[in-house]
Symmetry: C2
Subunit: 213 residues, 2 copies
């Protein structure tokens, strides 16, 4: 079954594909070889109908009445999402959150390899944490270029984020996962994804207030 892994898919579909991928990995851990659409979507809060519809973008996968070959489907979705290739990432800021991210298993699951970590704290520079040597942030540009890193994870204080992200843009970084609670203003060819816990929390508090709790 030939698939076209280069077809453009909507963002919501891409998000669901990544949920399917995680479900397939869990099935593989449990030594499952073949699974139905119901089994694959069981813990996802996505219907099996939606699942089949999403896959239909890419051609025929499962076999009616038999199910899906779990390992094949995992590989195919990996190709579609681009997680079948190892990519290097740089972690900027090794505070509490950055330290937690150094040990975050989700990176490896997506073939993302932390290839450099930076901080400006003399107490941290030179230390090895979770197997990664912390480098002086003044060497950020040099090391990112030398190591060919294209993805940065930004976990620095809010007031430093814009300036550092501009330096990242000037170092050839193409995508930033931003944990700082600011909207970064960067050239349009830099993709920024925001993980703003504080805003989520505030929004949650606001919902609670509205609910008169």
């Amino acid at each position: 079954m030939p698939i076209d892994a280069n077809i453009h898919i909507p963002q919501e579909t891409a998000r669901r594909l990544s949920l399917y991928l995680r479900s397939l990995k869990r099935l593989i851990q449990n030594k499952t070889k073949v699974a139905s659409s119901e089994e694959i979507t069981r813990f996802l809060n996505v219907s099996s109908v939606q699942f089949r519809k999403d896959l239909s973008y890419f051609g025929e996968f499962g076999r009616r009445g038999i199910g899906y070959d779990v390992e094949t489907l995992r590989q195919e979705i990996g190709k579609i999402l681009g997680t079948n290739v190892v990519r290097k990432i740089a972690l900027i800021g090794v505070g509490k959150l950055g330290f937690a991210l150094l040990g975050y298993p989700g990176f490896l699951e997506l073939n993302l390899q932390i290839s450099a970590a930076f901080d400006n704290d003399p107490e941290k520079i030179g230390k090895v944490l979770a197997g990664i040597k912390i480098e002086d942030i003044r060497r950020m540009k040099e090391l990112i270029i030398n190591r060919g890193i294209k993805i940065a994870v930004l976990s620095v204080p809010a007031d430093e984020a814009q300036g550092i992200s501009e330096k990242l843009a000037g170092s050839g970084i193409k995508a930033i996962l931003n944990f700082a609670p600011v909207n970064l203003s960067l050239p349009g060819n830099i993709y920024v994804s925001n993980v703003d816990m504080a805003s989520e929390l505030e929004s949650l508090v606001y919902k609670l207030k509205r609910g008169r709790l």
Copy 2:
């Protein structure tokens, strides 16, 4: 200037209000007493026009040609967002991410007080981390009810999240900040906010792939 803090506001406005709040806190730290809309929005990537429009929902705040009283505006936005009241939260799951969250300063900034933390690891139960005693997850319902906690932060493995969230719903929890990479299926009166780093990362990798990097 009387304001109506109970008016309903769109979610996007609420998000921007929380950005303004953070900016105001920074100005207060820097001993600024009065600031213009341009100064308040400087690091936010939100225009001063948008800022004035957002505030106009609630009445008149600043004075033309003079600016905004920073402390007053902070208090008023806090009332609107509901962050002027101390609320208790429970942290469920003290793994790497949960441990980072125990020390996350953003909770205190929003008047959210971690009033209980739970894990099922005998090595962790009874220990005090970041000033919080880790309790046996089997006591979760009892302690959440006794302490009147209405907000839970869920940082447990994906396959445990649904079951635990149902127990939380049964313990009177009204809002969940969910870090587990699953869509929780819960009664409609429970508000769930997802912080799905893995999906953000996958989406980012997908964008990179589309950009042929």
